[in-house]
């Protein structure tokens, strides 16, 4: 009777550090999914790897673990970056000194987005849930909705527009 010892995260972190092709793969993902440039991507990847080294965990898939951590780091970066841009543009328009962001507007925006999510159609929320939480592709997630392909796009577009409006 032998235990199935799962692979360790830190060993994979070391492998990513040593393997340029692994790093490139993640950087390409940061660029296509989040529009993050190479220099920022390198920094975010470094932050991710430092975090992996802090966790001596055994996981189902170290590759998946590092990827999920990197994806979250990128998402947080995009959200705080956009907030930063707003702070800069408000300050330059008013000619006032740069205010320090305390995060309160981000909280409001999250709240608005949460409320908007509660208000969209059940079908669309199920699609987003399948895509963002259950890890299905958009195509798979849209299948249960697919009365007609055109009808699906129309519903989803309307819903995404409503959500996007919360961020502006």
């Amino acid at each position: 009777m032998g235990a199935e010892t799962p692979p360790a995260t830190w060993q994979f972190a070391e492998a990513v550090i040593l393997d340029p092709s692994q790093r490139d793969k993640l950087l390409r993902y940061a660029s296509s999914r989040f529009g993050i440039g190479r220099a920022d991507g390198e920094d975010l990847l470094q932050d991710t790897l430092l975090e992996v080294l802090r966790k001596r965990a055994h996981v189902r898939s170290p590759e998946g673990f590092v990827f999920t951590l990197f994806r979250d780091t990128c998402a947080r970066h995009v959200v705080t970056r956009s907030r930063r841009r707003e702070v800069f543009s408000e300050a330059s328009e008013s000619g006032e000194a740069l205010p320090r962001s305390d995060g309160s507007e981000n909280v409001e925006r999250h709240l608005a987005l949460r409320q908007a999510l509660a208000g969209i159609s059940s079908a669309c929320r199920r699609l987003l849930c399948a895509f963002y939480i259950e890890g299905q592709s958009l195509r798979e997630a849209a299948e249960p909705l697919a009365v007609t392909e055109f009808g699906v796009s129309k519903t989803i577009n309307r819903c995404l527009r409503r959500l996007r409006a919360c961020l502006s």
Partner: protein, 474 residues
């Protein structure tokens, strides 16, 4: 095929960034984006929306149809803390990451010495005093030791608590200065991470020792630290521990919500063991709430992982919970089968203490089904195993249980024989209050034993047993 003349819609842009367009569509979309500033601007917004939704997706409830939280708004655990403050990002360098790998390896080696000193207690103060917060390898060693101490909490909760508190104290004394001075060490193992783990360990130990209010304070501080450090998996671990704490103070709904939230995060990150522990905690909470069917499902999910990974301590706890669920559902025979299966899995030479817990659990099930004679036999075997393993408190509790079971089975001769052995065992140790001994003797003195009196004594004995015997997993 995309219609190039019109603008790209939101769904297409989302499919574009999710890399779900086919090659031809992607090429056309790319060309359109190069020419069309409106779509390019919209692409930026969809990137941002996508990032926001990914962050919201960490809590499944944000995507739920309706959600009434069991946690009140003012509860610090109501929502996972988010670090929204802008943080200046330092440019990375290849030297930093290479240095981190080296320091991490050295830290992993030093960790063993730290833990040895922690468990050995006397040398802990001196060893911790010799570590420097300016030294990255020392920070890694402390961090890894704090993490592993949490997994080994059952070995010595008192010492583990001292370890967590001593790290906090040392940081108060000279950590802040080191954080300012040694940026490299601070980037590798930030203060927030280190302090978060120290509070987490201290809180975990307090829960084991039944100091629930102090545990709450530590968990809140750990939660806040990990929130500021953007550390999702550590936040989930604190939620799991807080769920266990709330379970023990009788707040089952809240425990359930926290355990469920933690399990969702562990699932996303592929942390199977942690996920199984969270599922086990969900099961315990559901059982407390009288939802045995759902509890059973959670417990079976956890059981599989514990069995495959040979995490026997967790395995035993979950088998006991499964049995209680089955009994609640009127499936006594299934409960017995689960115990029989567990007994087959465990080795008689290597897992004697776990066998004892299983036999004790089986006795509880039989007792609940009023099969007192079988219960007495099972707990007798558990008691012998406890003694064999040096688990004295558990053995004494089992002994009282055995006496009560014999008495309830109507076999007063066996009950008295067992009591006599119990008393002679204790007289050597002089460890039991004479009033307690007198109560047991009185309860069995007449023709009709006083079951209530024996049961009270047994329950009293159970309250002083360590949490490991009550289903708390590390």
């Amino acid at each position: 095929m995309l219609e190039l003349k019109s603008h790209l819609d939101e769904f297409t842009l989302l499919r574009y960034i999710a890399d779900e367009l086919d090659e031809a569509e992607r090429g056309e979309a790319g060309r359109h984006l190069e020419m069309c500033s409106a779509c390019s601007e919209r692409l930026d917004q969809v990137h941002q929306l996508d990032a926001e939704l990914q962050i919201l997706a960490r809590d499944r409830d944000n995507f739920a149809e309706k959600h009434a939280s069991a946690l009140p708004k003012e509860d610090p655990f109501c929502k996972r803390p988010e670090n929204d403050a802008w943080r200046k990002r330092e440019r990375g360098s290849s030297q930093l990451i290479e240095a981190a790998v080296t320091a991490s390896r050295q830290g992993a080696e030093k960790k063993a010495r730290v833990l040895e000193a922690v468990v050995g207690s006397r040398e802990m103060h001196a060893l911790l005093g010799s570590l420097s917060f300016s030294e990255p390898a020392d920070r890694y060693a402390l961090l890894y030791a704090l993490q592993e101490a949490g997994q080994r909490i059952a070995e010595n909760p008192v010492q583990m608590r001292r370890f967590g508190e001593e790290v906090l104290e040392r940081w108060r004394r000279d950590g802040s200065e080191a954080a300012e001075r040694d940026r490299g060490a601070e980037r590798m193992v930030p203060k927030l991470t280190l302090l978060g783990h120290a509070h987490q360990l201290a809180g975990q130990a307090c829960t084991w020792m039944g100091e629930y209010e102090m545990a709450q304070t530590h968990f809140q501080l750990a939660y806040s630290s990990f929130g500021r450090a953007d550390d999702e998996t550590s936040l989930a671990f604190v939620e799991l521990l807080e769920a266990q704490r709330r379970f023990f103070i009788g707040r089952g709904e809240e425990a359930l919500e926290l355990a469920r939230r933690a399990a969702a995060t562990f699932e996303v990150y592929g942390l199977d063991e942690a996920c199984a522990k969270a599922r086990g905690s969900q099961g315990m909470a559901l059982l407390r709430l009288g939802r045995a069917d759902e509890a059973l499902e959670c417990c079976y999910a956890a059981l599989e992982v514990f069995e495959n990974r040979e995490l026997w301590s967790n395995y035993v706890g979950i088998v006991n919970n499964i049995a209680v669920c089955l009994v609640n559902l009127g499936r006594l025979d299934d409960a017995r089968r689960e115990y029989a299966r567990a007994l087959r899995h465990l080795s008689r030479s290597e897992h004697r203490s776990f066998l004892a817990f299983i036999r004790h659990g089986l006795a509880e099930v039989l007792f609940a089904a009023e099969r007192y004679r079988e219960a007495a036999r099972s707990v007798l075997r558990a008691r012998l195993l406890y003694i064999n393993c040096g688990l004295r408190a558990n053995a004494l509790g089992a002994w009282l249980f055995e006496i009560e079971s014999w008495a309830r089975a109507g076999d007063l001769a066996k009950a008295r024989e067992s009591l006599s052995a119990f008393l002679s065992h204790l007289s050597g140790e002089r460890s039991l209050d004479s009033a307690v001994v007198r109560r047991v003797e009185e309860a069995l003195s007449g023709l009709d034993p006083d079951f209530r009196n024996i049961a009270e004594l047994r329950q009293h004995a159970e309250t002083i047993l360590p949490p490991s015997s009550r289903g708390l997993s590390a």
